[in-house]
Amino acid sequence: MSEPFHRTPDSVVVDLPTEVRTWLVGLATDAGAEVVEVGGPTNRRLLGPIDLTADHDDPLLELQRQMAVEGPLNVLVATAMATEISEDEAEQWIRALQMVLAAAAARFGLRTEDDVDGLSREDHGAITTIQAIMSLLMDALDS
């Protein structure tokens, strides 16, 4: 099996099966929906207060953070079927995949590695697959 990501001088060639791309779109879409669910675990994990000594964060900071979370997820959804993505889009993929992982950790209440090991085979497999894709993409991008 060939490497799923191949670096060119100014882009990254993506050679992922269509079903994997479709799966990633679904994960990013679900994570995006969970992020805006105020009070939900993913919302608290990704957009919870950064200053624990204050009653609430600066509204401008909150807006910046919301954009910082939603932007990469939107880029992944928009470019998931592309055969070649720019370096910046590849970086957004890494951010988005990490947000998908963080959303899963929040959804399942994962706090320790034992918690991860206690997941169902399917959920554990999903997390390790996302980690593997991220790792391969980082290797390609940083090569």
Partner: protein
């Protein structure tokens, strides 16, 4: 030694209080790749690979690490940058 001022309402403040550094705390997460944390720390703070790896292992083994200290505004900006990679980070006055 801090200078002490009293405002018109009689409350006391010190220049030292204003100068207290704020820490950026990076928290451990069981699903985050160590390689990603090293990469993000290097990218956000411009640290060497060795320093980024040391901080990452502190987070991994101790649950958290102070990854930067300084003025509050910059600390908040760094925290937002870390959140851009979905890393758990908060700011708090340094000790």
């Amino acid at each position: 030694m801090a200078e002490q001022d009293t405002d018109v309402f009689g409350s006391t403040s010190t220049t030292q209080a204003l100068d207290v550094p704020w820490d950026v705390i990076l928290w451990n997460d069981p699903v985050t790749l160590i390689s990603l944390v090293v990469r993000v720390i290097r990218k956000v703070f411009g640290y060497s690979k060795e320093k980024a790896e040391m901080l990452t292992m502190t987070v991994h083994h101790e649950g958290k690490a102070v990854v930067w200290s300084g003025d509050k505004e910059t600390a908040a900006a760094y925290c937002v940058a870390l959140h851009g990679y979905a890393l758990g980070a908060t700011i708090q006055p340094g000790t």
